[in-house]
């Protein structure tokens, strides 16, 4: 029988096994060594590997990111952990101006094998500054790889691939995905950069769901099935390098691209995917394109507005339905218990 693990446990195991395998791997960041160990993703690592390899830091995101780069220059493979992606805004100078550029601007003389883990928050009033999915920034800048695994299987495989990669990898987690359970082999394996996965088959519309929105897209697939619409769902897994071919092939078949992102649409991952698919299929076949993401506002904390702020399975299904059947045929599925979102309960 397949071994089932929670997403957080898959991350923990990947780090644990890689640290066992390779002395140059270390984990640090605010609170990785505290009793909560970043939702358990770093649990037990301190006692197993010691305080030189697993350590909490002062609140100094800028310097600690710079330090991670310095460690990588010296041949270590640091995993730098941030409990919120929002906090990476303090580290942008080192990420964009140094990590992404060092190899190129030094003519290939160095490489920066570092992993930056960060989490996207959602719900329970996390609000303006604890909920952003800002990975399009990292997609924009050449020299950074970006992984956004959605299943425990991919969480483990992407993290191992990221650790072994000789380049800086931004590893994007989502607080709600942390609760996902799924099959995870005990053995070491990688989910390598640049390969997307078709997670549900269909011929009417291609749903690309990024990060947590992958889960909502899979739920939307079920809602849509009720109306006879076959949605092909794709999980890009890696946003850079991006496996655009798999998406293009699907849209070549379905004629409809619907990208649902876990971030804002403007200059976001959904804009890029839409543009690339159009570029690839123009003159080949007439297609329809749609994007959905966070509402173009700051994330509000009050639940009724927050509900509207995020796409969900039903709003996704409704939009896909009108792509297929025309906007005139309005339809919104009744909420199904088995397809409800996990309700995250605070404090945080």
């Amino acid at each position: 029988m397949e071994r089932m693990l929670q997403y957080t446990e898959a991350i923990r195991e990947a780090a644990d096994q890689e640290m066992e395998r390779d002395e140059s791997v270390l984990v640090f960041g605010l609170d990785v060594d505290d009793p909560k160990a970043i939702q358990g993703t770093a649990k037990g690592l301190l006692s197993k590997f010691g305080a030189e390899r697993v350590f909490g830091t002062p609140l100094s995101e800028d310097a600690m990111t710079g330090a991670a780069i310095g460690m990588a220059l010296a041949g270590l493979r640091p995993i730098h952990v941030h409990i919120r992606m929002d906090f990476l805004m303090l580290a942008m100078n080192q990420l964009v101006n140094v990590a992404a550029k060092s190899r190129y601007m030094f003519g290939g003389k160095v490489s920066i094998p570092m992993v930056v883990r960060s989490m996207i928050g959602k719900s329970w009033g996390q609000g303006a500054q604890h909920s952003q999915g800002l990975y399009s920034f990292f997609m924009h800048v050449p020299g950074l790889k970006v992984a956004a695994p959605t299943t425990p299987y991919d969480a483990k495989g992407c993290l191992i691939a990221a650790i072994r990669d000789d380049n800086p990898v931004m590893y994007v987690e989502h607080r709600i995905l942390h609760f996902q359970k799924g099959p995870v082999p005990e053995a070491l394996y990688t989910v390598p950069p640049g390969k997307a996965r078709i997670t549900a088959k269909g011929t009417d519309v291609t749903l690309v769901g990024i990060s947590y929105m992958q889960v909502e897209c899979l739920r939307a697939h079920h809602y849509l099935a009720e109306t006879g619409i076959g949605a092909e769902v794709i999980d890009p897994i890696w946003l850079n390098p991006l496996d655009i071919e798999t998406i293009v092939e699907s849209v070549r078949k379905t004629g409809r691209l619907f990208v649902v992102d876990n971030g804002w649409t403007t200059c976001g991952a959904s804009a890029e995917i839409a543009a690339q698919v159009v570029e690839a299929l123009q003159g080949v076949r007439d297609i329809r394109v749609k994007r959905m993401g966070f509402a173009s506002v700051t994330c509000p904390t009050t639940p009724p507005l927050e509900d509207l702020y995020y796409p969900n399975a039903r709003t996704i299904a409704a939009a896909a339905h009108s792509m297929v059947n025309g906007a005139s045929k309005e339809w919104m599925p009744e909420e199904r218990k088995d397809l409800q979102s996990i309700e995250f309960k605070g404090p945080f």
């Binding site: 605010l30 505290d34 002062p58 609140l59 609000g127 700051t298």
Partner: protein
Amino acid sequence: MYEKFYRSLYRIRRVEERIAEVYPTDKIKSPVHLSIGQEAVSVGVCEALRPDDVVFGTYRSHALFLAKGGNLKAMIAELYGKATGAARGKGGSMHLIDLEAGVLGTSAVVGTTIPNAVGYAYAIKYRRENRLVVSFLGDGGTDEGVFQESLNFAALKKLPIIFICENNGYAIHTHQRLRHPALNICERARVVGMPAERIEDNDTIRIFERVKNAVDLIANGAIGPHFLECMTYRWKEHVGPNEDYQLGYRSKDEAEPWIRNDQVIKIGALLGEKEKRAIEDAVDAEIADAFACADADPFPEESELFTDVFK
């Protein structure tokens, strides 16, 4: 004076205890960082301020908000996510604001309001106004580079600002000892030539007096920033309504002296029993009313999702 102090201390304590009581009902779908045990700092500081002085705080600012005169109903409604909230339900516990009371805003990203406060102080000086800014920060906030940058600029421009470092020993579960080579936050202020002092005992009156002294100095034109490190202690978990001694990062023993020095009790003891009771009754009624209102108030309309991105 003691009545005012007591009223403010008791009110803050009771509001937060009430938040902790309500929390399990999930009516407050907002992270709450309680100040229980630390009220003396906000009260001591704010009692020394004038109404048009302004404060900037952190995500742990219920106490500051109330001590500075922020609207209690608006605060509770904000925690409940209601349209009547201080931020119309869009900000939650971590983004409190009350312009009339001079609460200029609080932030969920550590250290971010420090330079905002400095900029505000620049505007005050630029306009030759006789008021000042108080920037509240945690000991964790001093780790961030922006802390040093901000203090340097405030000192360089001799701005009318007081920095209050509420040192409760911890950033979440990590003691200052594990983040700083030396426990000398005041030195980090003095290095830019800023007068700095540390108040060890979480004593409301001493805090009040020392801040009053700084306010007077600034008001009398002996301008320039001041720095106060107020040692204090958080009784509850970092975020949420419970205690957390079971986690093992700190001991109940460590907390004991702080709890014995409970400022609500100490300052209360300076009042007559009747006087005290009258204050408590009035405050309890006010709080009950605030929670009832918050409960009854409406959520924002759907259309509000799109308002206030831009002016």
